[in-house]
């Protein structure tokens, strides 16, 4: 296994390794944040050692909290949820499942992995440069992100590196998307039509199509933001802006314009994270029910519909931006429409189980967990898709709970399902089934214990991205709730050690697996 291999299997494993590193780093950041939320005045020696400027005397500053939040979101969204399901498993299994020897452009494939790695390195560099990591969240709204150091310590070099990292990630994702699309169109085995492909391949295919168009818009958005910062242009900075008592001397730009560009990418990005998982779940449910997927064609059409609708709903992230109520209604109706293909998929999953001979393997557990999380997180999506409700819930913990369940945890459950299902193919050994099931149950309880209460914090109007609630009288009622959530988060994080142990132990010592251990019918098990 060489570092710059052009073999799709090696590259797939490299992507999964990068995501594994990123997910634990992102999780550690979230633990520090959860700790600070409930102990805002506690001085911690470790914080001072890690961030001498951000935590003088061990007392975390609000700026440090915001920079941790920014890095947590960016690492998780880009380097875990976009990387593992699509580039990791897609690279490894797409060619195998359609009977191709490799991806269409192996060298491009290698380049796109290393560009992703460079992008991650650039992002992490922001931690150690002067001023530290940026504060403006994974959405990087200007003017906060567009003016440089005057808006905060991390808004200097840290924010520049963040934008550079995202631009590199866009380029890497575009290369990856082109590769996957060409592979699907040109390299299917003779006689294999589009509608003969497993649903996993449809997931990767539709996701690649979304990536091709979504990242093509984020890239210029990021470049223009960078120009505003380093070349003194004024794309996103309005005239007459005063920050910290200083007139900024720009004119004519529009911060809202950036929001439009960002969410034109940002909403499809949500589907980039979840669609490959939907493909995996369809396969796992079908194999362990001993039945074909119910409504195969409806599943493919639903994926295409979700992908297509994803490009016309970005306005629902901007209901409070002052947009016309008529636009809000249009975006709202289109957003509700996403519920239709999503429900088609959910009911088809349930119908796949119906009357099957169910085998409750670890992978099956995670797949069922995915369906549960997808429903829980999806229902609140319908709540947030309505302007009347969203105006109240916007930027509260209700939103945090919603997107963590559906985009974060559900997608990660799909990754676990995929790992347990495909581990025998990847390493010739099983992941330990019993440890997998224990990990599943503890994690399943843990995620609901963390995220269900946060919906209630949202009901109270608890704003997100606040480092400290103790100054606000109306938030006294959620102090206990946050204490509970923080402890649930500690529990959830501790439980992940089981997975980590299982992963590395089973790689070397796991039970040796036969060629087709699950009795599956797709090509990756039957060819060789």
């Amino acid at each position: 296994m060489t570092l710059f291999s052009t073999d799709h299997k090696v590259i797939g494993k490299q992507y999964i390794g990068l995501a594994l590193f990123s997910v634990f780093l992102g999780m550690l950041l979230s633990l520090v944040m959860r700790f600070h939320l409930v102990h805002p005045d506690t001085k911690v020696r470790l914080f001072q050692m890690l961030w001498p400027e951000g935590a003088p005397g061990g007392q975390m500053t609000p700026e440090l909290y915001l920079s941790l939040m920014t890095m947590h979101g960016t690492i998780m969204v880009f380097f875990v949820l976009t990387t593992a399901p699509q580039s990791g498993f897609g690279n490894y299994f797409l060619p195998l499942q359609i009977g191709a020897h490799d991806m269409a452009f192996p060298v491009l494939n290698m380049l796109s992995f290393w560009t992703t790695a460079l992008s991650l390195g650039t992002l992490l560099l922001a931690f150690v440069v002067e001023g530290g990591a940026p504060l403006s969240g994974w959405t990087a709204y200007p003017p906060l992100s567009g003016l440089g150091k005057i808006t905060g310590p991390g808004q200097g070099l840290g924010q520049d590196l963040w934008i550079l990292s995202i631009a590199l990630f866009c380029v890497a994702s575009l290369m990856g998307a082109i590769n996957i699309i060409v592979t699907v169109i040109e390299l299917r085995a003779p006689g294999m039509g589009y509608f003969d492909m497993p649903l996993t391949c449809w997931g990767w295919f539709v996701t690649a199509l979304i990536s091709l168009f979504a990242f093509a818009v984020l890239l210029p958005g990021g470049v223009l933001l960078l120009l505003d910062r380093v070349a003194g242009t004024s794309f996103f900075i309005p005239g007459g802006l005063i920050v910290n008592d200083q007139v900024q001397g720009r004119s004519g730009g529009s911060p809202l314009l950036f929001q439009h560009l960002f969410w034109f990418f940002g909403h499809p990005e949500v589907y980039i994270a979840i669609l490959p998982g939907m493909g995996v779940i369809s396969t796992v449910l079908s194999v362990f029910s001993g039945k074909k997927v119910f409504g195969y064609k409806a599943m493919t059409v639903a994926m295409l519909a979700i992908g297509g609708l994803g490009f016309v709903v970005w306005g629902h992230h901007m209901f409070i931006s002052g947009m016309s109520p008529y636009s809000s209604i249009a975006f709202s109706v289109l957003t509700m429409a996403v519920g239709v293909p999503s429900a088609v998929k959910t009911f088809n999953w349930l119908a796949t189980l119906w009357g099957g001979r169910l085998r409750f393997t670890a992978a099956m557990h995670y797949a069922l967990g995915f369906v549960s999380l997808f429903i829980t997180g999806g229902i609140t999506g319908l709540v947030l898709g309505q302007p009347g409700l969203d105006i109240y819930f916007h930027d509260t913990y209700f939103v945090v709970a919603h997107f963590h369940l559906i985009m974060g945890v559900a997608a990660v459950f799909a990754i676990w399902a995929a790992l347990h299902y495909w581990f025998p193919k990847m390493y010739g050994r099983f992941l330990n089934e019993r440890l997998g099931k224990i990990h599943f149950f503890l994690t399943f309880v843990g995620v609901y214990a963390v995220f269900v209460p946060l919906h209630f914090a949202g009901f109270v109007g608890n704003p997100r991205r606040y480092p400290d609630f103790k100054e606000y009288e109306f938030l006294k009622s959620v102090t206990g709730l946050h204490m509970g959530v923080t402890h649930a988060a500690y529990f959830l994080a501790a439980v992940q050690l089981i997975f980590l142990f299982n992963y590395f132990w089973s790689k070397r010592r796991g039970a040796v697996a036969p060629g087709n251990p699950w009795g599956a019918t797709t090509r990756e098990w039957t060819d060789d």
Binding site: A104, F105, L108, L174, A177, I178, N179, I181, V182, I185, E186, L212, F213, F215, A216, V217, L219, P220, G221, V223, L224, L227, A231, G232, T233, S234, F235, R250, S251, G252, G253, S254, L257, H260, L261
Partner: protein, 181 residues
């Protein structure tokens, strides 16, 4: 293996169309938001000069067509000749463009909103032309040494024509719509 590169290039072009569309939409949104949008260009010399640039770039698309045709007819020497001619067109365009930039920079600051849009969009386009010249250079050297198939030259042609087509949007939107009233 035939067809992969061509399809890959088509996909790249589709995605790059969105990148340029984003920039042109940014331009239109900002222009609508600023009623006092400046219109600095006079018919002569500014527009005449830009028309000259346009003709040079379009001519290079024609020579590119001939390069592809020569390659398909198996005439490698002809293909190299036309590729070099295309590169000359691209370099000519860049040279004229930079001359124009130098004159414009005396009166239009890139810090103004008009300057941001003008230099941002034409700069990105110029970067595409420059990348294209290098790409065609690699093709020309390879074709001369007997490497590359007709499909590779055709793929390069796809990119080159795309860059020209983008200019056909930039020219009316950025130049002609900013003529002094």
């Amino acid at each position: 293996m035939t067809g992969h590169k061509r399809l890959g290039m088509w996909l790249f072009v589709m995605s790059d169309v969105l990148t340029f569309a984003t920039l042109l939409i940014v331009y239109m949104a900002l222009r609508l938001g600023n009623p006092d949008w400046p219109r600095p260009f006079t018919l002569s010399p500014a527009i005449l000069f830009a028309t000259g640039m346009t003709i040079v770039l379009l001519a290079s698309s024609l020579t590119m067509v001939w390069a592809v045709a020569a390659m398909e007819a198996g005439d490698r020497r002809g293909a190299v000749r036309w590729l070099v001619a295309t590169m000359a067109g691209g370099l000519g365009f860049i040279g004229l463009h930079l001359t124009e930039w130098r004159h414009l920079l005396e009166t239009v600051s890139p810090g103004t909103i008009f300057g941001s849009v003008f230099f941002g969009i034409t700069g990105l386009h110029m970067a595409h032309v420059a990348a294209g010249v290098i790409y065609l250079g690699v093709l020309a050297v390879g074709v001369g040494r007997g490497k590359f198939a007709a499909e590779d030259v055709e793929t390069g042609g796809l990119y080159w024509h795309f860059v020209d087509v983008v200019w056909m949007f930039v020219f009316p939107l950025i130049y002609l719509m900013a003529v002094k009233p």
